[in-house]
């Protein structure tokens, strides 16, 4: 494991998350570990409520109330080297979100603000993280104009605009930004808008959206589900993040659109060179796009392995049961007996033991340790000691 260190872009260790609800403390995530290698797609599989989404959101430090990250380390490879996100404050996280890690939610319709045009929303993500880039571009173009401009009044205005741009690059919140709302100075805003618009249209085109110029001016409710999801992906990829979290992005789409979106995600991974954390409960999707799979059950990681490995030789009884419960023609439908445990009072020892066909005495007493059975194939089960 140590040898892969350089390739890792994200590493989550010993993550513990609790939800302090009225009914009691929900032990949602217990000692979860994950790592994401450069350019790979890691699938996170598990039943509803097993903590897939919470794990993913924790990497952005966006745990919904009343959840709290109790312990754990989240290492992210940034331009300044390896950073432990757990040690950083909210202001720093704002810079990370969207720039290094971004997320695509399950429901594309709900993830878009109904009152803004598609283009404006994607542009917002760009403007937040690449403001200075845009202002420097504008600075250059104003300097160009100043070289050829003769009229003294116009020259004065251009010089004023230059000054404002320089101040804004130095300090985005400077009072100079108010000046830009004056009509004779709003040229700067227009130039920035145009630059952003070009980038947004480029993104929309990369998402395979037909007629991006028109889609730019559309409102979310004017688009179909598939198109909305493409727009949401464009928003997430706007600043070319290292890591994209896809939280069941195709669950609410029909099958043909699902195939298109999956294809798009794989294509974008190659094109934008991102690593993707793909959350799903569908092993078919996993087989389709993932490189590696992490199987989660009731807030624990059961097994992590390469995608071929996991289908060929699943080790953990839960993984086996999951794979067997994929409906196949001609075979009787198999489901996993029992129900998901209540995480306020999770079963002692291995959380899967009440439903496990191979349960032994030790399973209810001791939490199984993670063991690397083969290179890159990790399993947490007492059967493999």
């Amino acid at each position: 494991m140590r040898g892969l260190e350089e390739e890792k872009v994200l590493e989550v260790n010993n993550l513990v998350i609790r939800f302090y609800t009225y009914a009691g403390v929900v032990k949602a995530i217990d000692d979860v570990f994950l790592y994401l290698k450069d350019g790979e797609i890691l699938g996170v599989v598990g039943e509803t409520g097993c903590g897939k989404t919470v794990t993913a959101l924790s990497t952005l430090r966006l745990i919904p109330n009343p959840g709290k990250i109790e312990r754990g380390d989240i290492f992210l490879k940034t331009d300044e080297g390896l950073v432990n996100l757990m040690e950083k404050d909210e202001k720093y996280m704002e810079k990370i979100r969207g720039r290094y890690i971004s997320i695509v939610f399950q429901e594309p319709g709900a993830a878009l603000d109904p009152i803004y045009k598609i283009g404006e929303q994607i542009g917002e993500a760009l403007l937040i993280h690449r403001r200075n880039h845009y202002y420097s571009e504008v600075l250059k173009s104003i300097e160009e104009k100043l070289k050829v401009e003769k009229s003294p009044l116009r020259r004065f205005i251009l010089k004023l605009e230059l000054k404002i741009c320089r101040e804004l690059i130095k300090d985005p919140n400077s009072a100079y930004s108010i000046l830009l709302s004056f009509p004779f100075l709003n040229e700067v805003n227009k130039l920035v808008e145009n630059l952003v618009k070009n980038d947004v249209i480029f993104l929309l085109r990369a998402m395979g959206i037909p007629d991006p110029e028109r889609t730019y001016n559309r409102y979310p409710h004017e688009l179909s589900g598939g198109m909305k999801q493409r727009a949401v992906i464009a928003m997430a990829l706007a600043c070319n993040p290292k890591i994209l979290i896809a939280d069941e992005p195709t669950t609410n789409l029909d099958v043909t659109i699902e195939a298109q979106i999956l294809h798009l995600i794989r294509e974008l991974r190659d094109r934008f060179n991102s690593s993707i954390l793909y959350i799903t409960h569908d092993f078919g999707v996993v087989a389709e796009i993932c490189d590696r799979v992490a199987v989660m059950y009731a807030g624990n990681i059961c097994e992590i392995a390469g995608v071929e490995e996991i289908f060929r030789k699943p080790l953990h009884p839960y993984t086996k049961a999951l794979i067997e419960s994929i409906p196949r023609p001609g075979k009787p439908f198999k489901s996993i007996p029992g129900t998901i445990p209540n995480l306020i009072n999770p079963p002692s020892g291995c959380r899967f033991h009440p439903r496990c066909p191979h349960a032994m005495e030790i399973c209810s007493k001791e939490t199984p340790k993670v063991k690397e059975v083969e290179r890159g194939h990790l399993v947490a089960c007492h059967l493999y000691r």
């Binding site: 952005l60 704002e94 990370i96 709900a110 603000d113 109904p114 993280h129 409102y219 004017e222």
Partner: protein, 301 residues
């Protein structure tokens, strides 16, 4: 310019939407009629030079109202005040009370409601308990008490209506903020790196504000009604001030008419009453239209 063209298209679309509901056209027509009336007041009812135009001219000192005549075309009310003049100039008073009160109430409600909704916790608790206290006392009684405290007068009526009016808006705003705060797109905005302030100003407020604005536009009429009620009770403008409420207040002693002729002084209360009635009706109809026009989700259906 493409942006101008888009704006023009949107404006045309707005009117198209309006044409589809005849009631909103009626509302708009009534309100526009009153706007014209307020603007044209100096032409329709020229004030005597050198006098405060809001003080109705009086044709004598007899308290008994006179029926319509050549001098006063809609007759006079108690104190020989000209009804026609009073009703026309009263339009301005109505607009002033309605618009100032509603504007202030909406702004205060939005500010306080969003603070309560967005920050939650103790701040929310304190603000909401204050609104509870306001709700525990009947609105008009509370307004009366405040006017008595501040002193009788139209300005104080406006102040009193603002003081009793904001809790409704603050509550509505808070409820909307709480709803919007949990929407996925707010989470999505946070996930692309928006700061708290930016999320509040750009995503939460604009989405939460519509119900408050619509309620405000519907309430302009009701505010005028409340102000008229206070004037009727003698707490509003001084006698002789052009204000529909006080015109009805002046007719209070004559509502029963004369023995054997109950409708002897019908004009003293019917005419200003009709003005108040249609004014309020117009704003209420227009409020509905505003909802259909402004809400981007309903708008495109």
């Amino acid at each position: 310019m493409p942006s101008t063209k888009i704006f023009l298209n949107e404006l045309l679309f707005t009117f198209k939407r309006m044409r589809e509901s005849p009631l909103s056209i009626v509302g708009l027509a009534i309100v526009m009629f009153y706007v014209c009336l307020a603007i044209a007041a100096p032409i329709l009812a020229p004030p005597q030079p050198g006098r405060d135009p809001y003080v109705m001219p009086s044709y004598g000192i007899s308290p008994i109202p006179t029926p319509p005549s050549k001098e006063a075309i809609w007759g006079t009310t108690e104190g020989q005040y000209d009804l026609y003049y009073g009703c026309i100039w009263g339009t301005r008073t109505a607009f002033r009370t309605g618009l100032i009160t509603t504007f202030a109430v909406v702004i205060i409600g939005i500010l306080i409601g969003s603070i309560a909704g967005y920050f939650g916790g103790k701040v929310d608790e304190i603000i909401m308990r204050i609104t509870d206290i306001f709700y525990a006392i009947p609105t008009i009684v509370l307004a009366m008490a405040i006017v008595v405290l501040l002193g009788v007068g139209l300005d104080n009526v406006i102040k009193a209506l603002i003081i009793v009016g904001w809790p409704t808006y603050a509550r509505l705003m808070r409820a909307e903020i709480l709803r919007i705060k949990n929407e996925d797109y707010v989470e999505a905005a946070r996930a692309v790196g928006c700061s708290n302030f930016r999320i509040l100003v750009k995503h939460v407020l604009p989405n939460a504000i519509y119900p408050v604005l619509i309620m405000g536009s519907m309430n302009i009429g009701n505010t005028v009604l409340a102000a008229s009620a206070l004037s009727f009770l003698g707490l509003g403008s001084p006698a002789g001030y052009a204000d529909w409420g006080s015109l009805i207040s002046l007719s209070r002693n004559w509502i029963l008419g004369l023995p054997g002729n109950p409708l002897a002084f019908w004009h003293t209360y019917t005419i200003p009453g009709l003005f108040i009635f249609t004014f309020v009706l117009g704003w209420n109809l227009l409020g509905d239209a505003f909802r259909d026009m402004l809400d981007p989700l309903i708008r495109r259906r």
